[in-house]
């Protein structure tokens, strides 16, 4: 049952969804909504089957398909699951139905186009994670721009056009230099080994001179760093988040930002290991700056969405920190942190959307004491707040703790050898946890406690649809928080291989996933 056909079906199901939606007559909005939800749930079910059958003890790709696509250039339709992408694919499939259901009442304009675009971006995101061919990866990577451009631009807030064009121009600039690097990388592989291939497996062994590696890492890294985003390339994010509709914010925070860190993990660092090792202090510094600076910015915002947007910058800083620590615990922490942030930030954006639908403002000062007005809402919000802070038993704790532990593991031997920078950076990174508690508690306190006030009273508490969505998210948050062994087991082998490639301890091995 679980084989490559199923994986292909998971990837292409959104396209079938678009066709189905397009064939529905106009004006049947509720039918479009239900159909979209059904397709997304089907996709989730199929992904769950794949996840369960994913064998953590096997190295390399599983459920793989490898067909030549453009034979002459050595480009293949090459997809598959491995330990790095399996959790992210599961996350994407998990958030899909929640995004669709979360937009049931919020999106009333151009409903067909909206769900078609949600499917399109779902397709592009899954494709980016699954692609094992650089050309295919780039196609999916760039294709994500189109639906996101429309989602922010059509259904966004007042400054949506400014925000969406800024988003596209920022990301496209990174991609265009990455394209140059992609062509150069493949061409130099062909020159050196005679292999004309875009497959990741072939490219990992390309072994370029350090100088070339530095240039290429800079080009790839710029593109990924914009997507993460790493300070100082982050300025598009608050605009995009604030102006995007709830569904757009959830997709953006939940999955799209992970594209950047996934790109570093799958391509940027393993393709150019020597350059990565040479740049580790710089990358680590940037990660720590992102953690602290993002947190400081979140501390002073008055727009609820902006607080969560800046907190994303801070949380993804931990992912970067874990990845560049090149310590097994840190790498696994980074993967868990990616999933955890997707769940927590996605959930928080959904909740902000729910309160915005009721009160039509995101200004923090307009709210207070919602715990009395909307008790159910308050419970869920408090849980997600604590998960965002990283309270033990939630997924946020597992991710942040492991990423920081990895950073210390890597820094300690260097400290003993007399090189203190990594240790100093790791210590500063810990302060991000404290700052995180500060800005999230400030948000929760203002929103839930204190003097009771809210615009557009009386307010109705969460309905069944909204409760189901949040129960699903909270359940996932606790599952990862309480039983982290399961996801860690799935990723361990891949994390180890990543570590070996980047640290150069496996140079004798020809092909690695």
């Amino acid at each position: 049952m679980a084989d490559s056909t199923l994986l292909n079906l998971v990837l292409w199901l959104p396209i079938l969804g678009i066709v189905a939606i397009a064939l529905l007559p106009r004006g049947r909005d509720s039918l479009v909504r239900n159909l979209s939800l059904a397709v997304m749930l089907l996709q989730l079910a199929m992904t769950a089957i794949l996840y369960v059958h994913f064998d953590p003890s096997v190295s390399g790709l599983q459920f793989a398909t490898n067909q030549p696509w453009i034979r002459e250039w050595g480009i293949g339709y090459n997809i598959g699951l491995d330990g790095i992408n399996v959790l992210l694919v599961a996350l994407t499939a998990f958030l899909g139905p929640l995004v669709v259901a979360g937009a049931f009442s919020a999106i009333q304009k151009d409903v067909k186009l909206f769900y078609a675009m949600v499917f399109f971006i779902q397709f592009a995101m899954l494709g980016t994670f699954l692609a094992q061919d650089l050309f295919l990866f780039y196609v999916f990577w760039e294709a994500m721009l189109i639906p996101m451009f429309l989602i922010i631009g059509i259904w966004g807030g007042e400054r949506r056009i400014y925000a969406t064009i800024k988003f596209v121009l920022y990301t496209a600039f990174g991609s265009i230099l990455m394209l140059a690097a992609v062509i150069y990388l493949v061409y130099s592989l062909q020159q050196r080994t005679g292999i004309n291939s875009f497959a990741f497996v072939d490219l990992y062994g390309s072994d370029l001179p350090l100088r070339t590696q530095m240039w290429l890492l800079a080009a790839f890294g710029l593109s990924f760093a914009i997507k993460v985003p790493i300070v100082p390339l982050h300025t598009w994010l608050p605009d995009a988040h604030v102006e995007a509709p709830t569904a757009g914010s959830v997709i953006l925070a939940g999955v799209l930002l992970k594209m950047g860190t996934y790109g570093f993990m799958k391509l940027g660092f393993p393709l150019f290991p020597e350059a990565t090792r040479a740049c580790t202090p710089v990358l680590m510094t940037l990660a720590v700056i992102s953690i602290v600076y993002g947190a400081c910015l979140a501390l002073v915002q008055n727009d609820i969405k902006k607080i969560i947007a800046y907190s994303s910058i801070s949380h993804l800083g931990y992912v970067m920190l874990g990845l560049v620590s090149l310590d097994l615990v840190g790498i696994q922490g980074a993967i868990v942190q990616m999933v955890s942030h997707g769940l927590v930030a996605g959930g928080l954006f959904l909740m902000v959307g729910m309160i915005y639908e009721r009160c039509h403002t995101r200004d923090l000062a307009a709210y207070g004491g919602l715990a009395k007005l909307l008790p159910v809402f308050a419970v869920f919000f408090a849980i997600l707040t604590l998960a965002s802070i990283g309270l033990p038993t939630t997924s946020g704790f597992t991710g942040e703790f492991m990423a920081l532990l990895g950073a210390f593991n890597a820094a300690w031997p260097l400290h003993e050898a007399g090189y203190d920078l990594p240790l100093v950076l790791a210590v500063i990174a810990v302060s991000g946890v404290v700052l995180g508690a500060l800005y999230m508690l400030r948000l929760a306190q203002q929103l839930l406690f204190g003097k009771t006030r809210a615009p557009h009273q009386p307010l109705t508490d969460l309905n069944t649809r909204e409760r189901v969505i949040l129960v699903a998210i909270v359940a996932a948050v606790f599952t990862i928080g309480l039983y982290p062994e399961e996801p860690l087991r799935k990723t361990e082998l891949a994390a180890r291989e990543y570590q070996q490639i980047v640290t150069g301890t496996a140079l004798d091995q020809e092909s690695l996933p």
Binding site: V139, F149, T164, I165, L169, F173
Partner: protein
């Protein structure tokens, strides 16, 4: 001269000629205008099929040795040019009922076919001129508007300048080599004598002018804006393709070296950057497309930097993709009674709510022209820049990619107008052209196929 060869090898050209004669006779006999459209459509379709057939057979022959030869490498571009004219004809029916329009169009096509197969400067020159001269008249045919006269005149004067430059170059090359064969051009590229270099540079300058490369681009926006939509579409796709194919014929697989590299790198690079930047400021759709075509001509000339064998593939693939996507935008454009207002970009505001299919199709065309995957424009751009990089011009390739990035904004702006703006009060509510749907399907099918299976076409190039 072998008569059998003349008959088979030139079948597409013969069909076009027969169509022209038939059209002229029909006009004298019947006086009914609407027959012209069908005759022209059938003629072009038959010629395209004939060219495809020649390609499928792998036919090679030279009916006029040293002047005109046919091979699969000429039949495929010929078939592409002819096939790209079909959507143009389909949308022409509402604007032009007169037979003379169709005669002129077929004559121009005949010229384009001729230059693709030319082996000597004589046939090449004949082809280029036969292709361009009718277009001056075609621009003028939308005579209702004062801009048309200005556009046609500008186009004529600058086209004349290009002709003179080309002839001057050819005569220098003839004086240097004593031969009219186009191989004189490639040998002049590697020669050091001033006569040869001067001749080659003049010929290249004429081709740059014809393709509207900066700084020879000023005629294009006026000509594109002054002409009516079908003629603009024809100019932006077929004429541009013809000029590039002429350049391809001249350069062949010769490696570009020495000072010619800077000519063929810097001017196209400036074209890309300037075309993309100037397009941002345009308020008229056709002027915007004109600047976009200036930028695209830049990408196309960039391909000459690459090594010989990949050049043919890159240019023909690009021309087909660019032609299909450009036509897609033109055929889906809503039509109004007043031709000048239709052209305003503001008129596209809220198009998605009036004509969702047209808006989606135009959006796809814009994204493809911007080179965003998965649309085929990306594969075409990728191929060109891959060849430039493989030839060792890393800096030029990176600069070219950055210049192409500058274009993304104005293509997105069209989408923004169509999808994100409220309907403007002076929005065009005109009915679409009668056969626009058919033309759209005709462009959409290859566009979709090229998105998913670019390898199919690439294998045949």
């Amino acid at each position: 001269m072998n008569w059998h060869d003349v008959l088979t090898a030139m079948l597409p050209e013969h069909i076009l000629l027969a169509g022209m004669v038939l059209l002229l006779c029909l006009e004298i006999v019947s006086g009914r205008d609407r027959d012209g459209f069908f005759v022209a459509l059938l003629t072009v379709a038959a010629a395209a099929v004939a060219a495809c057939d020649l390609f499928a057979q792998g036919y090679a022959g030279s009916p006029f040795a040293g002047h005109f030869s046919v091979s699969p490498m000429t039949s495929l571009p010929k078939a592409a040019i002819l096939a790209l004219t079909l959507p143009v004809l389909l949308i022409s029916r509402d604007d032009f009922a007169e037979t003379r329009y169709y005669v002129l169009l077929l004559a121009s096509l005949y010229g384009a076919c001729l230059l693709v197969s030319s082996d000597s400067f004589l046939t090449l020159f004949l082809g280029i001129e036969l292709m361009s001269l009718p277009v001056y008249v075609l621009v003028l045919l939308a005579f209702l508007r004062p801009e048309s006269t200005e556009a046609a005149l500008k186009y004529l004067v600058l086209g004349g300048a290009a002709t003179a430059t080309l002839l001057m170059g050819v005569s220098l090359l003839y004086g240097w080599s004593g031969s009219l064969g186009i191989t004189a051009f490639t040998s002049a590229l590697s020669a050091t004598q001033p006569l040869a270099t001067g001749g080659a540079v003049l010929v290249v300058a004429a081709l740059l002018l014809k393709a509207a490369i900066v700084p020879f681009h000023a005629w294009a926006p006026d000509a594109y804006e002054g002409a009516s939509v079908p003629v603009t579409a024809y100019m932006a796709t077929v004429i541009k393709a013809g000029v590039l194919l002429a350049a391809l014929r001249l350069f062949g697989t010769a490696l570009v070296t020495g000072p010619m590299v800077s000519l063929l790198a810097v001017l196209p690079l400036v074209s890309m950057a300037w075309g993309n930047l100037a397009a941002i400021r345009q308020t008229s759709f056709r002027r915007m497309i004109a600047y976009s075509s200036i930028a695209h001509a830049g990408y196309l000339y960039y391909a000459f930097l690459g090594a010989g064998p990949g050049r043919y593939q890159a240019i023909v693939f690009y021309l087909i993709v660019y032609g299909v996507m450009n036509l897609l935008a033109f055929v889906a454009l809503p039509r109004s009674v007043d031709d000048t207002r239709q052209d305003h970009l503001d008129a596209l505001q809220g198009l998605f709510h009036r004509q969702p299919v047209a808006a989606l199709v135009i959006a796809a065309a814009m994204l493809s022209l911007a080179g965003i995957p998965p649309l085929p424009g990306f594969a075409a751009k990728f191929l060109i820049f891959r060849n430039v990089l493989a030839a060792g011009y890393t800096t030029y390739a990176v600069l070219g990619l950055v210049a192409s990035y500058l274009g993304i904004y104005f293509y997105l702006r069209v989408i923004q107008y169509m999808f994100m703006s409220a309907e403007s009060p002076d929005a065009v509510r005109g009915r679409p052209r009668r056969l626009a749907f058919l033309a759209t399907v005709l462009c959409l099918v290859p566009a979709i196929l090229l998105s998913f299976f670019p390898g199919w076409l690439l294998d045949r190039l």
